[in-house]
């Protein structure tokens, strides 16, 4: 319980400092507008129901990519390939929807499987050939993005039309994005269950609830099952877990597969909402990289990713209100600063928890025979008098 509080505290401090930095930046760039725009940035997400709907809509895929990264972190891997898995997942969901005219839930499963496949390769290469998963997944980001673009531009139906593009469905000259689900296959859109009317926004659907459900599920797997325990054990100490009879190679692959599946499902959730079409572009999709921020802010806790995704989504919606006075990339700077701070927030957290532990439990009680007499003598001296001198000394030694 205390540990959890410390994590939350560390993240909140990072966020506050990051926002403060953002404010300073706004002042430097354009002092006149800085304060009103900063106020808008902080409040835009709750200023109206449609805005709130947009926060929730964008949070759903963020939860998923955040889970992807967080799950890999928990098992000792760094999945920087969430972007590629997300893209491939999105494509398979859209392909199932547009080409095969499947209902939405099959499309979602397709995105899950596609992401899993894209996560499988880095895991396999890591476990079989010991190739660093960071490099592999970066390569697979680019390969995935380019392959998806190629497929979107070239897949043809029986009649020889480019089936993924709008041209096959309506008379439209647009060739740089996929066909909209609203005319290609409305049944593939994630159900709204009346939420769209409640929020007065087309963006609103049940995707955030699906994402939250998956997050809870993942938490259960990690913390309440033997399987999850084994995965985490591999992350903490690979050699020790091998010694304990855990198949570490298999677990690395499985971790990456699950991680990839999460990111893939994120792609499905975002593009099956029916409000955004996949645009053929030359840069990697940022959603996967934002997942890294989400995971770090949540200190890799699956439940925590729900909240950190909501936060990131919230300030991103706020960031749109910065335009046109400021570039909306201001938000990216703020997020980057927050992540930079949380990189050593992990460390400060460790220090705090270490202090708490040494306060609570008696170090001398631990069965370390050769070391035991020395601290015992010290504490004895502290007890018998000369309190200030001795404590100062021992503090100096600690550092």
């Amino acid at each position: 319980m205390k540990k959890g509080m410390i994590s939350v505290l560390a993240s909140v401090i990072s966020i506050l400092v990051g926002l403060l930095f953002g404010l300073l930046l706004l002042i430097v760039v354009n002092p006149a507008m800085a304060f009103p725009k900063f106020g808008e940035l902080l409040t835009a997400g709750v200023s109206s129901l449609p805005k709130l709907a947009k926060v929730l809509y964008q949070a759903a895929p963020l939860v998923m990519t955040g889970l992807a990264v967080a799950f890999a972190f928990k098992t000792g891997l760094f999945n920087i390939g969430a972007s590629g898995q997300y893209t491939v997942g999105a494509f398979c969901a859209l392909a199932c929807a547009i080409i095969f005219q499947m209902p939405w839930w099959i499309c979602l499963i397709a995105s899950l499987v596609a992401g899993a496949v894209w996560g499988f390769f880095p895991g396999l290469f890591k476990s079989l050939f010991n190739v660093n998963e960071v490099i592999t997944s970066i390569m697979f980001n680019w390969i995935g993005m380019m392959a998806v673009n190629l497929l979107c531009m070239n897949l043809k139906n029986a009649a020889g039309q480019l089936v993924m593009l709008p041209t096959a469905w309506v008379s439209s000259p647009i060739k740089d994005r996929t066909a909209a689900l609203s005319y290609a296959n409305p049944s593939a859109m994630i159900p709204k269950m009346g939420l769209d009317r409640l929020f007065q926004s087309n963006y609103m659907n049940i995707s955030i609830f699906i994402a939250a459900l998956v997050a809870v599920l993942l938490w259960v797997v990690l913390n309440r099952t033997t399987f999850g325990y084994e995965l985490k054990a591999c992350g903490y100490n690979k050699n020790a877990s091998i010694y304990a009879g855990i198949n570490a190679k298999r677990n690395i692959v499985l971790s990456m597969v699950i991680s990839g599946a999460m990111a893939g499902l994120g792609g499905g959730l975002y593009y099956l909402a029916g409000t955004a079409d996949y645009t053929i572009q030359k840069a990697l999709l940022p959603m996967g990289f934002n997942g890294i921020s989400v995971a770090l802010l949540a200190t890799s806790n699956p439940i925590g990713t729900i909240f950190s995704a909501l936060f990131i989504s919230y300030i991103q919606v706020g960031g749109e209100s910065l335009q046109p006075v400021y570039a909306k990339e201001m938000i990216d700077i703020i997020i980057a600063v927050i992540i930079y701070l949380s990189a050593f927030a992990l460390l400060t957290k460790n220090i705090i928890s270490k202090y708490i532990r040494t306060d609570k439990t008696n170090v001398n009680a631990e069965p370390v025979p050769p070391a035991a007499p020395v601290p015992a003598a010290e504490t004895g001296a502290v007890d018998s008098g000369e309190v200030p001198e001795k404590t100062v000394e021992s503090e100096g030694e600690d550092k």
């Binding site: 760094f78 920087i80 290469f125 992540i339 930079y340």
Partner: protein, 330 residues
Amino acid sequence: MIVLADVISATIVFAVPLLLVAMGGMFSERSGIINIALEGIMIVGALMGCLMMRWMDAAVTSGALGSQLAMLIVTLFAGLCGIVFSVLLAFASINLKADQTIGGTALNMLAPAMAIVLTWVVQGQGQTTILIPTWSRITEANFGLTMKSQFLQNLLFKNMYLTTFIAVILFAAAVILLYKTKFGLRLRACGEHPQAADSVGINVYKMRYAGVLISGFLGGIGGIAFTLAAGSGFQSTVAGYGFLALAVMIFGNWKPWSILGASLFFALFKVIGSYASSIPFMPQFRGVEGVSTYLYPMLPYIITMILLILTSKKSRAPKAEGIPYDKGSR
């Protein structure tokens, strides 16, 4: 034949940033710090270099400043800014013992966002491209020559930039620094066994700082070299070259000469990809859309993957990389 000249000259000009940045990564990792922030450092170098070029444009076009002298200043400035940016990584990972991958990722996010914001500030709202002045390229006019042969013209002067020569000098300097000096030996020791290095009186923190700052310098110059090579102006991105350089470094086994070979190799594949339509023996895939924009550009990444797998047995990373040095631990 003209195509051959084009391919060779383009290969060299694209190998230069890979070489510089991978060498930078090598210095950092040999000292024990994983530098995943190379992409961000490149972007900062490219941004600052381009801003410097923009700033000196008037002086050069009016003839007050020699164009290649200006380029020398631009290159050094880019390197300096790379150093400044890399201090952020060094501080987090050495002083604060933060997770090096996370710190690097944060810097990779920070750099492009900062570049866009700064570009807006300098050029005005919505102006996201910094154009590169034509005087940045070395032409035969700089030497007072006129080329008779189209082949030689393309081979030598189509993609000739000062950064190419600087890269050659820096490469030689880096090899000597790493293998022939006391400093190089100490740096490598800190990446292999920092405790042992510390026990003989080497300041591990200082050495690691040196490693990261050198990577910042080389990364910054690599950034401006990439932007010059890409040629279409700076748009707050270096298209994943920093990450490709990381792969080159691993494929080059953290050794300068192998890295040189690896960067030429990858550059060649990249160039073959972009020149595929004018190379006679390459398959053209008629009837397929997006071959030159998406299919061939995939080539360097796939080849990288295959080669990393094939050479993984021989791959040997510095032993202590990624582990923050803690004086108290044994």
